[in-house]
């Protein structure tokens, strides 16, 4: 969309489908740049994966592209922090990657090196320091890596904050609107209403493929448990480095030790991943395994009062990178989806590079790894 284009008849410059954290961030960014924007969602703000996530703001290093996006976005969150209202509960508690044995300590050093070269401060801790800093971890762990700039927040309120900012700049929010069809500059609702936009953004998370068939996003179900208040029990987000010792660590379902302190003093316990599970119900077996894993690292969790358990669907792509950019075959359709377990972290960065692409501005990080057309590129190159 260049500046030479004539004024269009479309009601909006951009219509965003999905009022989760990604859609909210995109709306905020669009409005900030003076675009006329509307956001539609069939439910409440942040009621999809945003409601079910752990709300962490983290750097990750599974790939350079993942690192680039998470670090870029994490910095944006740090810049935003002073403006975040209290109920967003932003805490820079830091992450500790926990190493259970010497093999994992090697991984600690590798990460330390990787992050160090890229300007992300980290600290390697030995077993004694780890136990001192997190006394409720079991004895016998090998050590860990502290990433002090990582944080947590409460995602539904963060999404709401971003949407309110967008609305203050004129963005329109329509909740309780079920979308039947999108594309070619239109959003058609189940009630037969049609909204026209220069651009439509599919930020519908795990449901993105329902609106745009062919998107390679699959539901990756996760479980969470939250406890009653135990102030002082946990200071940092903790996550394990472990992988199954055997090389072929691929089964259909998996769990990992991941706990977070909330500002309320409640402990949020995750995480699990299931492939092909379509129903929302809590899966007893997975939940049990997740909690058993958590107790292995922090035995005292077992006696704590669990107030709620719930599930959510992450939007997962085959190469673990999100889809941010135009959809091949429909120049007016953009995607902002496929964020798997990093939606909260990368929402702000996603919004920046997505709206850069919409307005023709120069993105601050390379965007090729996240383009929806990359799948076609790979096929073309094959």
């Amino acid at each position: 969309m260049s500046n030479a284009e004539p004024m269009s008849n479309a009601e909006y410059d951009a219509i965003i489908v999905g009022a989760g954290i990604v859609g909210a961030a995109c709306a905020d960014e669009c409005a900030r740049r003076g675009l006329r924007v509307a956001v539609v969602d069939r439910d409440a703000i942040g009621s999809g994966a945003t409601a079910a996530g752990m709300g962490h703001i983290v750097v990750m290093d599974d790939s350079d592209a993942q690192f680039a996006l998470t670090r870029y976005s994490q910095r944006l969150w740090q810049d935003l922090r002073p403006q975040l209202p209290d109920d967003v509960e932003y805490e820079q508690c830091g992450t500790i990657w926990v190493a259970a044995d010497d093999q994992e300590i090697e991984e600690v050093w590798r990460k330390h090196d990787y992050y160090g070269k890229r300007g992300v401060p980290t600290e390697v801790w030995d077993a004694r320091t780890l136990k001192q800093m997190e006394p409720n971890l079991r004895d016998g762990l090998a050590g860990g890596l502290l990433v002090p700039e990582d944080g947590v927040l409460y995602p539904p309120c963060a999404a709401r904050f971003l949407l309110e900012r967008a609305q203050e700049r004129g963005a329109k929010l329509r909740l309780g609107v079920s979308v039947a069809q999108i594309g070619q500059g239109r959003v058609r609702t189940n009630d037969g209403l049609e909204i026209t936009g220069e651009i439509v953004v599919n930020a519908a998370g795990a449901w993105a493929p329902e609106l745009t068939p062919g998107i390679e996003v699959k539901k990756r179900k996760g479980h969470l448990v939250i406890t009653d208040r135990y102030p002082g029990f946990l200071r940092h987000q903790l996550v394990e480095l472990g992988y199954l010792k055997s090389a072929h660590a691929v089964t259909s379902d998996s769990v990992a030790f991941n706990v977070q302190p909330r500002r309320t003093g409640q402990i949020l316990i995750g995480s699990s991943r299931q492939y092909g599970a379509e129903h929302r119900e809590v899966d007893d077996g997975i939940l049990a395994r997740m909690l058993q894993r958590a107790q292995e690292f922090m035995p005292a969790l077992g006696t704590m009062s669990a107030v709620r358990a719930w599930t959510g669907f992450r939007a997962a792509t085959p190469d673990k990178l999100p889809l941010i950019g135009p959809w091949p075959g429909d120049k007016s359709l953009f995607l902002g989806t496929g964020h798997e377990g990093l939606g909260i972290t990368t929402s702000l960065g996603t919004a920046r590079i997505l709206v850069d692409q919409i307005t023709g501005a120069k993105p601050e990080i390379p965007i090729e790894p996240y383009l929806p057309s990359r799948a076609n590129q790979e096929l073309a190159n094959a």
Partner: protein, 81 residues
Amino acid sequence: MPSQVTLTVNGLRVSVPSGATVAAAVAIAGQACRISVTGEPRGPLCGMGICFECCVAVNGRPHCRSCQTLCESGMEVRTDE
């Protein structure tokens, strides 16, 4: 079976009839059970274990519903203070 039971609430000795609840002992000791998220003192509301306003720590275990916990000799009860 003793007709009176002695326990402590925040270090204060309280004597109650056998079969009395910890909630009653806390009230006799003149204490509120807990402090709410915004700092309000709270005591029992429903009396039947569903409202969680009566929660106290019993023998070091937090979040015990005192209206459903029977007093035992030597019990140490602590409220939010």
